[in-house]
Amino acid sequence: MKAIYILWLRQIKRYLRSRSRLIGSLGQPILFLVALGFGFGPIYKRAGGGNYINFLAPGIIAQGVLFTAIFSGIELIWDRQFGFLKETLVAPVSRFEIMLGKTLGGATIAAMQGIIIFFLSLLVGFRPANIIMLPLAFLFMFVVALFFTGVGTAIASTLEDFHGFQMIMNFLVMPLFFLSGALFPLNDLPKLIDTLSRLNPLTYGVDGLRASLVGISHFGFAVDMAVLSILSLAILSIGSYLFSKIQI
């Protein structure tokens, strides 16, 4: 337990110390919120959708969590290349504990990032429907964060260097974001897009966040939470298996 805690703490300290990374990673969500929010706002309203910023904000929060989570997981490659991983691997601690500590740390950071974006979105005009539901929204952020940090860790366990990184961005992270219903409602979509978004784990995160923040939901938050929890457990098992296979 102590080992998990200290690995978690290390991630948090690193995050809080790298201000440039913290601020840099907020640039993109803010750009999306402002450009898309104000850009599509009028059309969305005319089409009868209502306030687009309110619709968009949960999606952008989910995006911020997604990006930070995947990066935190992938940072494992860094530790591996620059030797710090060896220090933990020769310690009398099981690989499962190491993986879990690191993943929980990454997930906490990603969830914190989500919370920061939430507060920033308030400045752009986002208004949550019900303050009482905020803890649930934070919980959703954490589960989304946990799942995608797990994905990042699992992928990083199989990679030796950063060459595959661009591919992960283009063929995994971006499609996950664009096909998650973060930017558009899931109603009346063409069959292909509809199927793809239903298969996309982030869809349930966006939907759960929207359910808890603005009271709009496609699947209902119970379904969203169930899907994400099961997927998180699955990815943690896969991740710890892959992590246990790492050879230095």
């Binding site: 110390r17 290349q81 030797g83 220090e87 020769v90 260097d161």
Partner: protein, 271 residues
């Protein structure tokens, strides 16, 4: 598990150790042993199998074949007992640059399950020995190469290991730092009877520090003995001549792995 192993005087015992990576045999049927409180050196050209052997002895890699005992424990079956019983300084820096010197030590202490007060005392004691106590709250990324090495040595000793592994510990350090580093370690060996196992490229270092030297090449041990014995058996006057006679003059080409490339890039960045 041989019960008599635990009672005998060996810190490291290796019998017929082989490690294969697919078709490539990195370590080929080597056997040697290191006595308790001995200082033992592995000397060999690049790609000879030095680091692979250290990784196997320290549980990072599984051997393909062979029997190993570290302080009487089997690194394959009794990983945690082996891990508690040794300390290591790796070839590459393995500190977290974004943490302070103290935090790096503390992290290690927690992983090795040292209790709070004891941990604090021991960290202070070791940081004072390596003369980093007044810099304990600085981030490691502000440290020079030599300071980082000293910190790694202090960290490796934090949990009172019986065997201390050092994989090319002096690579890239200036003579002053090298000298100082070895004086800590030799001192420790004398005072606490800690067994030291190190690999190096520097002949002088091996000759001066180690009681016995194993010359390893192409995954096998070619010769093992004191520096005097090695010189005598090859009829040469210096360890370097003996080494070159045993391993040949040809320059070794090592395949560059992604890790090497990263290392190079990292060195470039840090200059």
């Amino acid at each position: 598990m041989l019960p008599e192993d635990k009672e005998n005087n060996l810190a490291i015992e290796v019998k017929s150790l082989t490690k294969k990576f697919n078709d490539f045999t990195a370590v080929n049927n080597i056997s040697f042993s290191v006595d308790k409180a001995e200082i033992f050196a592995f000397l060999g050209p690049n790609g000879a199998g030095k680091s692979t052997t250290i990784k196997i002895l320290t549980t990072l890699l599984k051997p393909t074949e062979g029997k190993i005992r570290i302080n009487g424990f089997d690194p394959v079956k009794e990983q945690d007992r082996v891990r508690k019983s040794f300390g290591i300084v790796f070839q590459d820096p393995s500190l977290d640059d974004e943490l302070t010197a103290y935090e790096n030590m503390d992290f290690h202490g927690v992983l090795y399950n040292l209790d709070g007060d004891l941990r604090k005392k021991r960290i202070e004691e070791l940081l004072k020995i390596v003369e980093l106590w007044d810099k304990k709250d600085l981030l490691v990324k502000t440290f020079s190469g030599g300071m980082k090495r000293r910190l790694e040595i202090a960290r490796g000793l934090l949990h009172h290991p019986k065997v201390f592994f050092l994989d090319e510990p002096t690579l890239g350090l200036d003579p002053q730092t090298r000298n100082q580093m070895w004086s800590y370690i030799v001192d420790l060996n004398k005072k606490e009877g800690i067994t030291v196992f190190f690999t190096t490229h520097y002949m002088g270092e091996a000759e001066k520090i180690a009681r016995r030297i194993a010359i390893i090449d192409h995954g096998t041990i070619i010769k093992l003995g004191t520096a005097e014995e090695l010189k005598k058996s090859t009829g040469t006057n210096s360890l370097e001549e003996a080494f070159l006679q045993l391993t040949g003059h040809k320059i070794r080409e090592e395949h560059s792995s992604p890790l090497d490339k990263m290392r190079q890039r990292r060195r470039m960045f840090h200059r």
